[in-house]
Each structure stands twice: as structure tokens, then as C-alpha cells.
Amino acid sequence: MMNKGMWVGILFTFIFTGSVFSVSETSEKTVQESNEKRKPAKLTNKTLYIKFGVSSFRTSMPFGAFPAKPVYPGITGGVNYSFWQKGIHSGDTGTNGYYIHQMRIRRFFILNQTIGYQIWPLRFFYLHCDLGAGWMHSFYDQPVYAFDSGTGQYEQKRDYGRSYFSPSMGLEMGFPFKSPWLGNPAVYIKYETFLQMPYSQINNIPVIPGTLLTLGVKIKL
């Protein structure tokens, strides 16, 4: 059963995901021009980046402490498009995918779209924050049973998962290094908080928060 909130999340995600891809294709020219001019690599260039990382998840209030036990591992990937730049400031949009495994509890995907702001306080690192919204789809990490009113008994069922709307907020710090051969990567650490809503309508639990700590690499395309 998917309610209006979940559909809003799914629609929001796919509409904005599409917009980023259309922007990214037009930006290829910008990337080429940038390469031709052979400017020093800087992540604030108006261009497209791909990122991937490994994460640790925790169900907790926003900015809950890490390291958390047990470690619930995840992988993260996505693209960022830097659409605006002025001096040390820049703005970007991002499309991200996450896969998290809370062992013996659940496995879930998140696909979200973010809008962010980045600043370079010093030459060798940047700070980045973003707000996002997206779609979470969660599967139980154990058998699921459903009541069969025909037989009056519970039967194990295939778990197709449940969808949720998932707004997010992230803080990121990155350290780029020059290496055109490797695509001028940056190592980043990102702290994100997600909301999952509506969590359990039948039990009147409207929302639960979760936090994610990611260590990743960002590569200029």
C-alpha cells in the first residue's frame, strides 16, 4: 500500500533525476572546453562529477554519534553537477543512490536528489552542505508473513518492500588532489541524516530518522 507521501517522493526523485541527466549532457561541452584550456583541476569548475563510497548507517536522531555499533554497512554512488560558481562559492545538484544493510532487520535503497552549496575556505579542502528529497524502498531482512483470509492462516510471502518519502540533509568535507590521470579525484567524508516517512501508520509512528557516515571518492567526468 503506497500513500500519497510516497508517491510524492518517487515522482520528485524521478523528475529531478531526469533533469540532472539532461543538464549533464549539455555540460559535456563545458567539460571539453575546460580540458582544452588545461586549467588546474578544481572541483568548483562548472562540470559533472561522479562519486562513490562506503557508508555506515545508524537509526538515530540527526547528528547521532559515530562510530556506531553494530556497523551497518552500505554503498553510495551518484553524480553532482556544479551549475554555478562565484569565487570560492558554488552551487550544485546531486543525484544519489544508496544501499544499506541492517543485518537481521532490513535492507533498503534510497534514490534522492539534492541541491547543495560548496565553499573553499582553503585551497586544499572544501565544505559542502545539501538538502535533498527522495524515495526509500525497504525490505525486511527476514521472512515476512501475510494473513490469508481465505485459509485464516499466515503464509510466508515474497517481500516486495515498502516505499517511503525520504528528505535528507548532508554535510561534506572533501580533499581534492591533482591527478589528471585519475580524473582529479577528491576524497570526501559526508555526514547525512535521512527521515523515513510515514514509518508505521498503524502504530502512529509518523517518522524515524537515520544517519549515514560515508567515506568516498569524487571524480570529475
Binding site: M61, P143, Y145, I202, N203
Partner: protein, 396 residues
Amino acid sequence: MKQKAILFKFLILSLILLKSTCMVESEMMDCSQYNYAHNHGHSINHPQSAVLDQFIKEKVRLGLVGVSMMVASPQGTWYGAAGKVSLECGKDFQPSHYSRIGSITKTYTAVMILRLSELGIVNLDDSITKYLPGRITDEIAHASVITIRQLLNHTSGIYSYTDILSFGLDLLNNPYQLNSEEDLLKYISGKPGYFLPGESMHYSNTNFLLLGLIVENAYGKNLKNAFVDLLKTPLSLNHTFLDPDHMIPEGTSQGYLNMDSNGDITNATDYLMGQYADGGIVANVFDMYTFMNSLVNGAILLPITLTEMKTWVDVEQPEFGLTKYGLGLRYWSTPYGGAYGHTGGSWGYLAEMFYFPDHDTYFILLVNGSLGKFNEIVDFEIHKKIPELLFSSLVP
């Protein structure tokens, strides 16, 4: 198009990971653990036996996984079970099967404290600081003026750790985590309290967590052994277990949780919540009847102590007729007269244990499901309807 290809690969990798983590652990469950039966010494001779059999079967048809129930009155005794003790094993629930009784444990803990009071080991009107170390009481607001009696009837004002948001989130994060009593008390450390001690009543699991620690400190044994000495052995409760370190003994029914509105349920047997003096007991209906019967008939406490137990304070927000609270006892107000006992709930289990003095009737219920529709069926289809079912034909 390059980035699209990379995202596609990421998606494929995620699906592979998803598949690889899809292990079904329950296939390893030992189903022979449910092949037990014991001589409980009861026989079915209640005139409403057929009606009661039908009553519990209806509740399973409404959506309970399994239910075990017992009624004992001057007219006769009935016990029965319906549904499954374990969906993984497909085994039927039997009346002798064990289940978690949740907060009904509070009545047992209260009786242990009252036994210690009768033995002169504790005084109900002493400050809790007399029995608990400073490292615990220093973190509790107004501890020096809170008495054991105020813990027993929830008038201490001490915050319930289960009301703390971070506790709930930690539980969702890792429901398999075994927390010590001191770990749980950290959640309420420095909290101001609901009200000044004695000013009002607020149900708090922390009160009974502290009472468990008082039993240990005053009696000089851990809770498991104190329980054996004070209740299990004297009453021959051979099918009642309280072991905070190994809460679920073999043979306990599997408990299920309904978190989703579509009615899907999952196994929550190993979700560790309330494993101590506030909710840690596992028992079957026969042993619960033995305990309650012993309490009512003065076999475990002096009649004057039971009278003290039934000194009621008003519940702040009564629900389902549970209007008052005594010393570890709930008072249930029904159109057919009052009852005393307790209700219980933990993740995966619901339970009730009541005695109707006007009818000299005991009602014991164990259900291996909680939250969502399980709570609705127990609250509205059993708790609300059972007094009428039992007593309407007796009213002139």
C-alpha cells in the same frame, strides 16, 4: 551517457548485494523445541468450554498468530489454545507452551518486594537511597525522597526509559542488543521527572527496573536467583522463567510484530526489550494461574499485605477500563465488577492476567503477536468482550 552507464552498474551491484544478503535464518530453527507437554493437573470442566473454544478460534481467524487462554471459576476450569506457536515450524499453539508475559512481570516483582517487606528486609516507606548505590540514585531526580512504595505504585515521578526517544531509536537500530540495567538507567540520567514524588501517577518501567535492583541489593542475590528463592521454588513455578541474560528459554512461542499497515508481520522473538524486573518473565497459562491463585489465597503473601497491594491510586489516562493502580497491580473496572492483575506487552507478545473477586474467576491470556492489528484484536476483541462473555449469563 557515460554517467548513466556507471549508475546502471551501481544498480546492478546493489541488486547482487541485495540477493546475497537474503539469507533466511529461521530455516535453522529447531522445531523439536515445541514437542513438549507436561502434567499441569488441570482438567476442562467449565460449562462454557465450547463457547470459549470458539472464542479463541475466532480471534485467530481475525488475525492472531497464536493464543493461549485459561479461565478458572467456581463453575469450572477451561483452558485452550489456537493458532500457531511458530509460523516457521508450522506447529500449533498448545496451552502448555511458554510465552513472554511482558509487564505482568511487574506483579511478580512487586510480590518479591512485598515478601522481603514481610521478612523485614526492606521497608516500603524507606527512601530508595537506602537500598541503591549513589552511582544510580545520584542520576535520579529527587531520589532521596522517593520511597519503595512510590516505585511500586508509579507515583515516584521517575521518567520511564521507554518514553525516551533515543531509547526507541536505539531499539529500532539494534533490537537484539542486550542492555544492562545501568545502560537503561543512562537514558533517564539527569531527567527532571514527570512531577514531584507522590504528587501524581505516571506508569514508568524505570520504577520496576529500580525495584529489581533493590531486590538484588537487599536480598544479596541476582534477580534470577532471588526469583527462584522467593517465588519459583515456594510456588513450584516450574514453567516460569526470569533470566535477564537468557530471556527466551527453549520452547517459548515465536513472537511476531505488525509494523506495516498492510498487515505484514515479522518474527521479533529475539528483540530484547524489558528483559529485567519490568518485563522479563516467560511462562505458560498454568503457571500464571498458579501464581495468581497463590496471591489471591494468601499462599505467598499475608492477607494484610495483599490488602496493602490493593491500595489504589487513579491512573492519569485510563484506557480500556484500567482505571487504577496498586502496588504492582492494575485495577480493571468492568460492567460486571472490578478485577485486579496486570496487562503485559513486549515486542512480539501480549498478555493479561486478572482475577475477578466478585465472581472468584481467573482470566489468563497469552498472545504471540504485538503492535498494529494484534493490539487491536487483543484490546477490542478480547479484553473488551471477555467480561461479558464470562459473566453476562450469571447476572440475574
